[in-house]
């Protein structure tokens, strides 16, 4: 059976996995390199009380790291994509809330490396990333993976 729909194409699934996996690995490493600064970024959103901000600062980058690695190698792809999709929904919601409140803050998305404003551009980037993640959630890893899942 010829699969001519690009969403079924194993090469596209591999491409999405590489893009998503690399992005999250990179973001994770940058945050882990300066957890303090990431905690400050979380506090700036003023969504959770400041005294609790260190907990997501300590744990979120590691969730990004592990799921990023798994997706890159095609291990437990659907489950990793599910977690990544949830994180993206949470991050994007936080940015939308910041924009509505008129907060002029740095996104905190890539730790100390890139100062990106929490704004519409970031929301758009996240939505596109979420799109790739949902495709992997629905379709799985494709045949180019360590463990086909």
């Amino acid at each position: 059976m010829i699969k001519n729909n690009f969403l079924h194409n194993d090469y596209f699934l591999l491409l999405f996995r590489i893009l998503l996996g690399t992005l999250f690995l990179f973001a994770a490493v940058e945050k882990i390199s300066d957890i303090q600064k990431f905690s400050v970024s979380i506090q700036n959103y003023r969504i959770i009380p400041a005294y609790l901000a260190n907990i997501p600062a300590i744990t979120l980058p590691w969730i990004e790291l592990i799921t990023g690695l798994f997706i890159l190698f095609g291990i437990k792809t659907r489950e990793s994509a599910f977690i990544i999709s949830c994180m993206l929904i949470v991050f994007t919601s936080a940015i939308i809330i910041a924009v509505i409140r008129g907060l002029d803050i740095e996104c905190g998305c890539f730790g100390t490396l890139m100062a990106e404003q929490a704004g519409f551009r970031k929301i758009t980037e996240n939505v596109i990333t979420l799109f790739f993640s949902i495709i992997l959630l629905v379709k799985g890893s494709g045949k180019f993976s360590l463990i086909n899942s």
């Binding site: 957890i35 303090q36 005294y51 300590i58 590691w62 969730i63 592990i66 489950e79 100062a115």
Partner: protein, 163 residues
């Protein structure tokens, strides 16, 4: 249906393992942070605390006005460059805290023996405190934080420089 192919136990295992790894790394790392963040309490400046500080000292409005009158005290605006460009305390320089990188900061541009007053918007912002801490780490020993900030200064129509 793809939902049937998703293993909830795997999801929980991934998340819990990552969380454990995160806490483990944090406790072993020399850059680890406390699990519960505690807001730091700064001491208020007075004649008895002196001008040489190993930690930033807080100053109130009266002290800020007095320091402002002493020409050799330099005010530093810790807000971003767009806020600074719009308006700032007259004579202040801008060191935006959000993009401040102590590793790349050229300390020859600021005399370490000079006293500096750091401010941001006002009561609700911590940017001045964070910048003050970074400057102390770089070896600046006369760092004061004007907590009232730009909003208090402008409310009293004190001198500003604006676009």
């Amino acid at each position: 249906m793809f939902l049937e192919k998703i293993n909830i136990k795997t999801i929980l295992l991934l998340v819990i393992s990552s969380v454990i790894l995160g806490f483990a790394y944090n406790s072993l790392s020399k850059f680890g942070i406390p699990i519960i963040f505690e807001e730091k309490d700064y001491e208020n400046f007075s004649e008895s605390t002196g001008y040489q500080t190993i930690e930033p000292l807080l100053i109130n409005l009266e002290q800020a006005i007095e320091f402002y009158g002493e020409k050799k005290v330099q005010f530093i605006d810790a807000r971003d460059r767009w806020d600074f460009a719009e308006s700032h305390i007259l004579g202040a320089i801008n060191i935006p805290e959000y993009s401040f990188d102590s590793r790349n900061f050229d300390t020859s541009t600021l005399d370490k023996n000079h006293p500096y007053v750091v401010y941001c918007e006002g009561d609700d912002c911590d940017t001045s405190k964070r910048l003050a801490e970074e400057l102390i780490k770089l070896g600046y020993s006369k760092i004061f934080i004007y907590e009232g900030g730009f909003s208090e200064w402008t409310n009293l129509e004190l001198p500003v420089d604006k676009k």
